[in-house]
C-alpha cells in the first residue's frame, strides 16, 4: 500500500514583542497571495443575552474604520480585483484576503486597519442587524439547516455552542454599536491574534512590512479570556421531530464529539473514513444506505471534522423520502452499532489509512489552504513538523484501535435524533411522496 507523496511547506514563525504571532510561507506558483488574520475570539465568549454579537462584530470589521468608510474599503480592494472577507464564527474571527501579489501592501494595510481600528458606524450596524434578522427567517427555508441547528441545541445543551452562530432574532435586534466596541476592546489584541500569509512574496520583506503595520499595536496586558462551559455527553436518547412542508425528511443522529487536541484524533479520522466520511461511496453508511438501498442522495457520518478548541459533534445525516424514514434511521443506527460491535476488516483499515495519507497533499494546494493550515497549526499547537507527523500518526492505527475508539466515542444507545420534514411532532408522516 502506498503512503503518498508528502506535501512540502517552508514556513517561518515570528512572534512580535506585542505578542502577535506571524506565520509566513513562500509559494511562487502564481503571482498571488493569501492573508489570513485570526483573532481567537467568537461566539464562545459571548453571553446568551448577546448571542450573535461575535459573528456580527466579525462581519462588520470591513464596514468602516476610524479613517476609512465601508465604501472606501470596498473600492480599494475591488479595484485590484482581489477579494477580502471578514467573518466571526464560534471560536475565531477572521480577516482574509486573496490578492494578486502586486497588491500585497494594500492587503496588509487594510488587514491591520480592520483588525485594529474598526469603528462599527451606527448606520452600518443598523443595516447589518436588519439584514441579519431577515437572514434568520430565510434560513428557515433550508430544512437541513433547521435540522442541524435543532441537533446542536440538544447536543450542546447548556453551552454557547448550542446557539446558531448568527444568533437569534431577539438577541441580534438588541445589539448596539457600544456592545460591538466593548467586544472589540475586550478580545482584539495582538497577543490574541495569529497572522498567516502564503504566496508569492519574500518572507524577509513581508516580515518587515508586518512589523510596520502591526508593531505598534499595543499588547493587552489585561487580556482575560472567559472560561467556556464544557458540554457533557447525554446519558439518554433524545428525539425531536419538526414539521416542515418539504419533499424530504432531513435526519440527524448523533451526540457530542471530540476536541482537536484529543490524542485519539488520528484513530477517529480512520474511523470516520470507514464509517461515513470518504470519497465516493466507499465508507459503510453511503455504501449501504445510498449505493445498495437507494435511500438517499446525501448521507454521511463524521466526528473529526467538527473537532475544535471545544468538542464538536459526532453526527450522521441522511435526507430521504418520508416513506423511507424508519428504514433510514434504523440503517444509520445499525451501522453505528456494527462499528462498536467488532473490529473493522484489516482491508478497510488499510484503505482508509492509504486515503488519509495519500490525499493529504491536496490540503496544501492553494495559498488560502496553506494560510489556513498555518493558523490551525498555531491554534492547535500542531507544529510545522505536522506534515511529516500526520502520515506517521495515521499509519500507526490498527483495527483494534478503531474498535477501541468506536466504543469510547460512539454510543449507539444514547443518541440525539432530529427529524425535519413532513412529519408531525410524534414522527408520523403527514404527506406521502408521489407514487412511483
Amino acid at each position: 500500500m502506498s503512503t503518498g507523496i508528502a506535501p512540502r511547506l517552508n514556513a517561518e514563525r515570528v512572534e512580535l514583542s506585542n505578542g502577535l504571532t506571524v506565520l509566513l510561507s513562500e509559494n511562487h506558483a502564481l503571482p498571488a497571495v493569501s492573508i489570513s488574520a485570526v483573532v481567537k475570539t467568537g461566539e464562545r465568549f459571548v453571553t446568551d443575552e448577546m448571542a450573535g454579537l461575535g459573528s456580527l462584530a466579525g462581519e462588520l470589521l470591513d464596514d468602516g474604520t476610524e479613517t476609512r468608510t465601508s465604501q472606501q474599503i470596498a473600492a480599494a480592494i475591488e479595484s485590484t480585483g482581489g477579494a477580502l472577507a471578514t467573518t466571526g464564527s464560534y471560536a475565531t474571527t477572521k480577516v482574509s484576503a486573496t490578492l494578486l501579489s502586486s497588491d500585497l501592501d494594500l492587503g496588509l494595510e487594510l488587514t491591520a486597519d480592520l483588525l485594529r481600528h474598526p469603528s462599527f458606524p451606527e448606520d452600518r450596524v443598523a443595516l447589518e442587524v436588519s439584514k441579519r434578522r431577515a437572514e434568520i427567517h430565510a434560513k428557515q427555508d433550508d430544512p437541513r439547516h433547521v435540522a442541524s441547528e435543532a441537533f446542536n441545541e440538544i447536543v450542546f445543551a447548556g453551552t454557547p455552542q448550542r446557539r446558531p452562530v448568527i444568533g437569534y432574532e431577539g438577541t441580534v435586534a438588541k445589539i448596539t454599536r457600544a456592545d460591538l466596541l466593548a467586544y472589540h476592546r475586550q478580545f482584539f489584541a495582538p497577543n490574541n491574534t495569529v497572522l498567516a500569509m502564503a504566496g508569492d512574496f519574500s518572507a524577509a520583506e513581508v516580515e518587515h512590512k508586518v512589523r510596520q503595520g502591526f508593531g505598534d499595536w499595543g499588547r493587552d496586558e489585561d487580556l482575560r479570556l472567559p472560561e467556556v462551559t464544557r458540554p457533557e455527553r447525554q446519558r439518554e436518547p433524545i428525539t425531536r421531530f419538526i414539521t416542515k412542508d418539504k419533499e424530504q425528511v432531513n435526519i440527524f443522529l448523533g451526540h457530542l464529539g471530540i476536541t482537536r487536541g484529543n490524542p485519539d484524533y488520528y484513530a477517529i479520522r480512520v474511523l470516520d473514513t470507514i464509517l461515513g466520511d470518504s470519497p465516493g461511496f466507499t465508507s459503510r453508511i453511503p455504501r449501504v444506505l445510498r449505493d445498495e438501498q437507494g435511500l438517499a442522495y446525501t448521507t454521511y457520518c463524521h466526528t473529526a471534522r467538527s473537532a475544535g478548541i471545544d468538542p464538536g459533534r459526532f453526527v450522521a445525516y441522511i435526507g430521504t423520502s418520508p416513506e423511507n424514514q424508519a428504514r433510514a434511521i434504523e440503517g444509520l443506527r445499525r451501522q453505528i452499532e456494527l462499528m462498536t460491535a467488532a473490529e473493522p476488516a484489516v482491508a478497510e483499515v488499510e484503505s482508509a489509512k492509504a486515503y488519509l495519507t495519500g490525499s493529504f497533499v491536496f490540503e496544501f494546494e492553494t495559498n488560502e489552504q496553506i494560510a489556513a493550515f498555518l493558523v490551525q497549526a498555531e491554534v492547535h499547537q500542531l507544529g510545522f513538523d505536522y506534515l511529516e507527523r500526520f502520515p506517521k500518526e495515521v499509519n500507526r492505527i490498527a483495527a483494534q484501535d478503531v474498535l477501541r475508539v468506536a466504543r469510547e466515542y460512539l454510543d449507539p444507545h444514547n443518541l440525539t435524533l432530529v427529524v425535519v420534514g413532513p412529519v408531525d411532532e410524534t414522527g408520523r408522516i403527514l404527506k406521502q411522496a408521489e407514487p412511483t
Binding site: G358, F364, T366
Partner: protein
C-alpha cells in the same frame, strides 16, 4: 480531442473527461438521462465492479466525481503524480464498456429521485426551474438538468444503454490532463488506451432553436416560506458571441462586490434584500442573464422589482463610469487568475470551453474583455435587458401557518 498542460509546482495531476452531451441533447419524455447516465458510470463496467472506481480512488488517496449540465457531462480524478495514470485506465474502460445491471439501475433511480427532491426543497431550486421552463418553450434548456420526475420514473435501462452508445465515443469527448506530467509519455499512454476505441458516429445534430420572445412572461411559485424571492431572466447570447463580453462586464458592474450597482441600491440604500446576484453563464446556445434577490420579510417583492428595473434603466440611459468599467475588467481578470490556484480548475476551464466552444476561446479572452467600451455595455443593456425579452418569477408563501 486531448488537451494537456504541464504544471510542475506541485506533485499532483488532474484529469477530466468531457462528453458533449447534457440536458440540451435530451428529447421529449427522455429528460434527465444525461445526468442519470453520469450516476450509472460508477455502477460497474466489464473491468471494474460496482464501487471499485471509488475504492481505487480511496486507496490511491485521490478524489473523483462527476457533473452534468445543460451542455456537457464531465468526470474527474485528482491524484498524486506518481499514480495518476490509473485515471486514464478507468476512463478508457468506462467510455466503451459500462455495464447497466438491472438491479443497479433500479437502486440508482431511487438515488436520482432523492437528488431531485433536494433540489425542490432548496429555496431557489423550484423557482429557478420554473423560470427556465417559462423562458424556453422549444429549446431543451426548458428542462431541468436533473429531468422531470415522471420521465425519470418511466426511463428504462435499455434506453439508458442506447443513450450511452449514442453519445460516449472519442469523437464526442475531450480529455484534459493538467499537472506534474511528461506530455510525451502521457500522450503515448492515452494513445495506447483510447486509440483502440472506435471513434464513433458523427454526433447527432440537435436542430434546436428558440423563437425570439414576444413579450414579458410572469409566474409565481408557492412554497412554505417566510422570505419571498425574485428571479428575472433575460434571453442573452451564447458563448463567444461578440456581445457576451460586454454582458459579462455588465453582470460584474451590476452585482459583484460592495461597489456594484445592485448592492448599493438594494442592500445599502433601500435595505430591501438580504442578498442579490447576477448570473450569466456561457453555454453553447443562447442562454439567460439572470438577476436574483432575496427579499426581507418586511418588504414587498414588487418594490424590489421596481428598484432593479430603475437600475437597469439607468444602465441603458447612461454609460458606466470609467472607474466602474476599469474595476469590472480588473475583477474579471484577477478572479480568472486567482480561480486557477486549484489545479483541477485549470483542467475544468480548458475542458469546459473546448466542449462548448474551443479552448482557443481562452487565449483571446482577456483581449476581448479589455476591448469592451462603456458604449458597448450601454448598447447590450438596451438590446438584451428589455421587458419583452424577460421572464419574471416570484417565490411566495403558500399561505400555510408559519412554522
Amino acid at each position: 480531442m486531448v488537451l494537456t498542460k504541464e504544471v510542475h509546482d506541485k506533485p499532483i495531476v488532474s484529469s477530466i473527461i468531457w462528453y458533449r452531451v447534457g440536458s440540451r441533447n435530451e428529447e421529449l419524455g427522455q429528460t434527465g438521462k444525461s445526468h442519470f447516465l453520469e450516476h450509472m458510470l460508477f455502477k460497474g463496467t466489464d473491468r471494474y465492479r460496482k464501487g471499485e472506481i471509488d475504492l481505487i480512488t480511496l486507496q490511491q488517496g485521490g478524489a473523483n466525481n462527476a457533473f452534468t449540465d445543460t451542455d456537457f457531462t464531465a468526470y474527474y480524478f485528482n491524484f498524486a503524480a506518481d499514480r495518476w495514470p490509473v485515471a486514464l485506465e478507468i476512463e478508457a474502460n468506462r467510455m466503451a464498456h459500462n455495464l447497466f445491471a438491472p438491479e443497479e439501475y433500479e437502486a440508482e433511480k431511487e438515488v436520482v429521485e432523492e437528488e431531485l427532491r433536494i433540489g425542490l426543497d432548496s429555496p431557489w431550486g423550484a423557482l429557478d426551474q420554473a423560470v427556465w421552463a417559462a423562458a424556453y418553450q422549444q429549446h431543451p434548456y426548458h428542462n431541468p438538468v436533473i429531468g422531470w420526475l415522471e420521465d425519470l420514473e418511466r426511463a428504462t435501462r435499455e434506453e439508458m444503454e442506447a443513450y450511452y452508445r449514442q453519445w460516449y465515443h472519442p469523437r464526442n469527448a475531450t480529455l484534459v490532463i493538467v499537472g506534474d506530467i511528461d506530455t510525451k509519455q502521457t500522450l503515448s499512454r492515452v494513445q495506447e488506451l483510447f486509440g483502440p476505441i472506435p471513434a464513433g458516429p458523427e454526433p447527432k445534430r440537435m436542430g434546436i432553436c428558440e423563437q425570439p420572445q414576444q413579450g414579458e412572461r410572469r409566474l409565481v411559485v408557492k412554497k412554505q416560506t417566510e422570505v419571498e424571492r425574485l428571479q428575472t431572466a433575460y434571453h442573452a447570447p451564447e458563448v463567444a458571441h461578440a456581445d457576451s463580453y460586454p454582458l459579462q462586464i455588465l453582470a460584474t458592474a451590476l452585482s459583484t462586490g460592495k461597489t456594484s450597482r445592485l448592492y448599493e441600491r438594494l442592500e445599502e440604500r433601500d435595505q430591501s434584500v438580504t442578498h442579490q446576484s447576477v448570473e450569466y453563464t456561457d453555454r453553447i446556445d443562447p442562454t439567460l442573464f439572470t438577476i436574483r434577490a432575496e427579499v426581507k420579510p418586511s418588504r414587498r417583492t414588487a418594490e424590489v422589482e421596481r428598484a432593479i428595473d430603475e437600475e437597469v434603466d439607468r444602465l441603458k440611459q447612461s454609460p458606466l463610469s470609467a472607474e466602474e468599467l476599469a474595476r469590472a475588467k480588473q475583477l474579471i481578470k484577477a478572479r480568472f487568475v486567482l480561480g486557477h490556484e486549484h489545479l483541477a480548475n485549470q483542467a475544468i476551464t480548458l475542458g469546459y470551453f473546448e466542449t462548448i466552444n474551443s479552448y482557443e476561446y481562452l487565449s483571446s479572452f482577456f483581449t476581448h474583455i479589455d476591448g469592451v467600451t462603456a458604449d458597448d455595455v450601454q448598447r447590450v443593456a438596451r438590446k438584451y435587458l428589455a421587458e419583452d425579452n424577460r421572464t419574471v418569477g416570484y417565490l411566495v408563501s403558500h399561505g400555510a401557518r408559519r412554522q
